[in-house]
Each structure stands twice: as structure tokens, then as C-alpha cells.
Amino acid sequence: MGGATGAAPFEGMSDVLLEDAQGRPTPRRRVRAFDTFVLFLSVLALWQTIGSWTRGVAVSPPWQTLVYLFGLLRTWMFWDHAAATLAAFLLAFLLSALIGLALGLLFGVRRFAGDVAEPLLAGFYTIPKVTLYPVVLLIFGLGMSAKIAFGVMHGLVPITLFTLGAVRNLSPVLIRTAKVLHLSPGRTVLWILVPACLGDILNGLRIGFSLSLLGVLIGEMFSSQRGLGFLLVNGMAQHNVPLSTAIVTVIVVVAIAANTAMLCLGRWTGPRGA
């Protein structure tokens, strides 16, 4: 999941590789922006190719989708479904974050409990939780609470595991400092544990964020009458290709934007912790 971490060895090296006509090195950032732009264009071209190759049976081409999307954004119906998804997702993420941080801290501080729980949590993380969705539906009934519960099932474990790992790998000096200064448990958590583990906690929150979104969307796609996931499946069933393509576009853009924002936040807070 840490794809960007490996870039470091190349950065110094490739700075001198690229020079413009006067022999001055081209700013690295500009080359990268150009490459990213080319990549963006090729994604659009691929999208257009698939769209026109299938004659819009499966995927509508980019421009048509964009036009449709702008029309869709002006309808009340879309915002109603979007609000349902957003509400379920925000609640699911908030619950996952709160419970996950508390459990992670607990299991990190209590070594024995942590050792007992970690493989169980990791095992739960890797099983196909979709198969458990009918159970969630049977327990919570059709509707909002089932979606939220399913989102929490997806988002809770990574947040717990990342927090647990961060607290466990904390330098013992920090703990001893807290003891020497006679900090109360509350202050130890607030002044020592949280600042020292912030990077890992943010990483866990970022993964928990995307997974609880996934959980909520799967819940809506399987059995629901509201939300973007329902709209997507419904658009497909009614052969309304621009609708389903537009919904997919919205979800992809929002997910990437949120993830990028959280990555930037992590980078911004990172140097203080190191």
C-alpha cells in the first residue's frame, strides 16, 4: 500500500538526467507534470476507445458522460442518493475511527492482549467479508444501519491494526520519559502516544476510509433502495449506460481526491514525528 515510498533513491539521480536546449536542467517538477498530463490523456483515450468500440453499450465516452453528469448534478434525485451514501459512509468511518483507535491503543499498551488479538484481526481482514453481508442484513434489517455496520466491518480492522503496530513499535525511551515526568495515563496518550504514532495512525485512517467506503457501496449495490451504489446497479439494469458511467466517475474522483488529501496531510505532519 506504500507505493510512493520507493521513489526516493531515484530522485537525486534523475534531477541531472533531463536538460533543456540551453543545457540548463529542466525543473523536475515540470517534467513530472508533463508526464502526468500524458498519462491523463491516455486514460481518456482508452476510455473513449472502449466507449466507441462497444458503441456505448457498456461505457459511455468521456465527453458524453461529462455532459450527462452536469445534467445529473442539477437533479434533486442525485443529491438525495448522494446524501444517503455520504451519511452512511461518514457514520461508518467515524465509528471505525473511534473504535479502531481505542482498540488499537488498548491492544498496543497491553502486550498480551495485543498478541492474542492481532492474528485474529489480521485473519478477519483477509476473508471475503461480502459473504457475511446477509448476516448483517438479517441482524440489522434492510436500510441504513446495515450499510453502516458493513462499512464498520471493513474499516475498523485496518485502523486497529495500524494503531496497534504504531503503539507497539514506539521507542521505549518515550514511555520512560512519560514515567519520569509522572504523566497521568490520559496525558501520556495525548502528549506522547498520539504525536509519536501520528504518521501510522493517519495511514490506518486513510486505508480505513477507503475500505469503509467500499463496505457502504457494496451494501448499497447488493440490496438497497437508496444511495449511489443502488443508482449504479439500477442504471446498469435499466441499460442507462451514461448514468452508471457517470456514477462510477463521481465515486472514482471523490475517492482519489480524498485519498490524495489524506496523503498530503500525512506528509505535512510527517517531519514533526521523525
Binding site: 507505493g3 453499450v57 461505457v59 461480502v130 477507503s210 449504479l232
Partner: protein, 253 residues
């Protein structure tokens, strides 16, 4: 060592107590049998359904799809990872993409894939590859990054051929991190395929579960569910144990 035994013991005890607790609650009528059936019933139903052979077609269909997607994801992921590793410029573009890839719920592409490829195995395989290949790619990149330059120099000093450099130096050095990717790829392929079958499909174990749910057949649903989850846990546990063995062999030298 003694503490380790205690940890394993407590873990098993926690699991056993929760299963027994659920069993007692179900038998005592605290939990409605229309919601959850007793764990012993789930096990019995699983044994019935596997023993009678009524699930054989689903099992074959699901697992062949998963294996196919897994193998394709490994091949494609390693190839792409190795190619990207050779070009720093490409790497600069791809790294941010990989970093945010898993934030997009890949699953939302499934309805589009079904419309594109029809309601067969093809969209399931593509979905499995889409969710598993980037994990292999990321771990290939990090495995190749982790090779110490000294090792490559050593290969040059010994004038090893490219093939030997690969099989004697690169592969053993990159394997531990690559293995992490393979583990993730297996669980992602499994999740992708079964989720796809669950939402929209006409065959496979995922479809069996959603069909049983929709026809209020709780016994069949829990039996199939237990089967799928057991297979997932066993497959992941197997890879986990294998990884541990590899790590021990490395540390022995």
C-alpha cells in the same frame, strides 16, 4: 517460548468461548433462528452440502476463476513491476497512481465489466485481476528496491549471466517482499471473485450464498458461508506458514 504458548492458548480459548456462547444463545432462543443458526448446525449443513456433492459445480467454477485471476495477476503484476522499475521516469508517474489505487473501490467497475464482457466468468476474472495485480506490482517494486547494490556488484564481479543473476541474486533477495504481495493478491482475488458472484452472477459459491439468502434458506446460506470462509482462512494460513518457513530458512543462512 512459554509466553507464546500462553498467547496461542488464550487465543483458542477466546474463539472457543465465543462459539460456545453463540451456540448457547441460539439454543436458548435468545437469538432468533431466523437471524443466526447455531454454529453446530452451520457445520452440519456445510458437511451435508459438501458431502452430497450439490456444491461441486459451484466449487469448481469459483475456484477455477480465483486461480485463473490469481495467476494472471501474479504474471501481469511482476512483469509490470519489473518494467516500471527499469524506468525512473515512468516510475514517477506510476507511483502516485499506485499509492491511490486501492482508495478507489475497484468493485464499482463490476457492473460496467458485466455490460462489457457479458455475464460469464470473464468479468469475474478481470475484476479479480484488477484488485490483485496492483498489490503484486507494488511488492515487486519494493522487492527490487530493497536489493542491496552490493549484491548486484557481486553478480557483476562473478560475471554471472543475466539469467543466473536473476535466479541466484535478484529473486532470493526480492522474494520476502514479493511474498507479502502474493499473500495480499490471493486474498484480493478471492474477495473480488466471490464479491462479484455475490452481487451479480448466475454461478459460483458467492451466487449460492445470495440465492440462499433471497430464498430464506438460512441453513444452506450459513453452510455455504462457513465453507467459503474456512477455505479463505486455510488458504491464507497456508501462505502465512509458508512465508514463516522461508523467513526461518533465510535467517539460518
Amino acid at each position: 517460548m512459554k509466553r507464546q504458548h500462553a498467547v496461542v492458548f488464550v487465543r483458542i480459548a477466546v474463539l472457543a468461548v465465543s462459539i460456545i456462547f453463540l451456540e448457547v444463545c441460539c439454543r436458548a432462543g435468545i437469538v432468533d433462528p431466523l437471524t443466526v443458526i447455531p454454529p453446530s448446525e452451520m457445520l452440519a449443513s456445510m458437511i451435508d452440502r459438501v458431502g452430497s456433492g450439490e456444491m461441486n459445480t459451484s466449487i469448481m467454477s469459483t475456484f477455477s476463476t480465483i486461480v485463473f485471476a490469481f495467476v494472471l495477476a501474479i504474471g501481469f503484476g511482476i512483469l509490470a513491476g519489473a518494467l516500471i522499475h527499469r524506468s525512473p521516469r515512468l516510475r514517477d508517474v506510476v507511483d502516485p497512481l499506485l499509492a491511490s489505487y486501492y482508495s478507489v473501490p475497484t468493485f464499482i467497475f463490476y457492473p460496467l465489466l458485466v455490460a462489457l464482457l457479458g455475464l460469464g466468468k470473464a468479468p469475474l476474472v478481470v475484476l479479480g485481476v484488477l484488485s490483485a495485480a496492483p498489490a503484486v506490482m507494488i511488492s515487486t517494486l519494493s522487492g527490487l528496491d530493497g536489493i542491496s547494490p552490493v549484491l548486484i556488484k557481486l553478480a557483476r564481479v562473478h560475471r554471472l549471466s543475466a539469467a543466473r543473476t536473476f535466479s541466484w541474486i535478484v529473486l532470493p533477495a526480492a522474494l520476502p517482499r514479493l511474498f507479502t504481495g502474493l499473500k495480499l493478491a490471493l486474498s484480493y482475488a478471492l474477495i473480488g471473485v466471490i464479491a462479484g458472484e455475490f452481487i451479480l452472477s448466475g454461478t459460483g459459491l458467492g451466487y449460492d450464498i445470495s440465492f440462499a439468502y433471497q430464498s430464506f434458506d438460512n441453513r444452506a446460506m450459513y453452510g455455504t458461508m462457513l465453507f467459503v470462509l474456512s477455505i479463505a482462512v486455510i488458504a491464507n494460513g497456508f501462505l502465512y506458514a509458508w512465508e514463516g518457513r522461508l523467513a526461518r530458512r533465510r535467517s539460518r543462512g
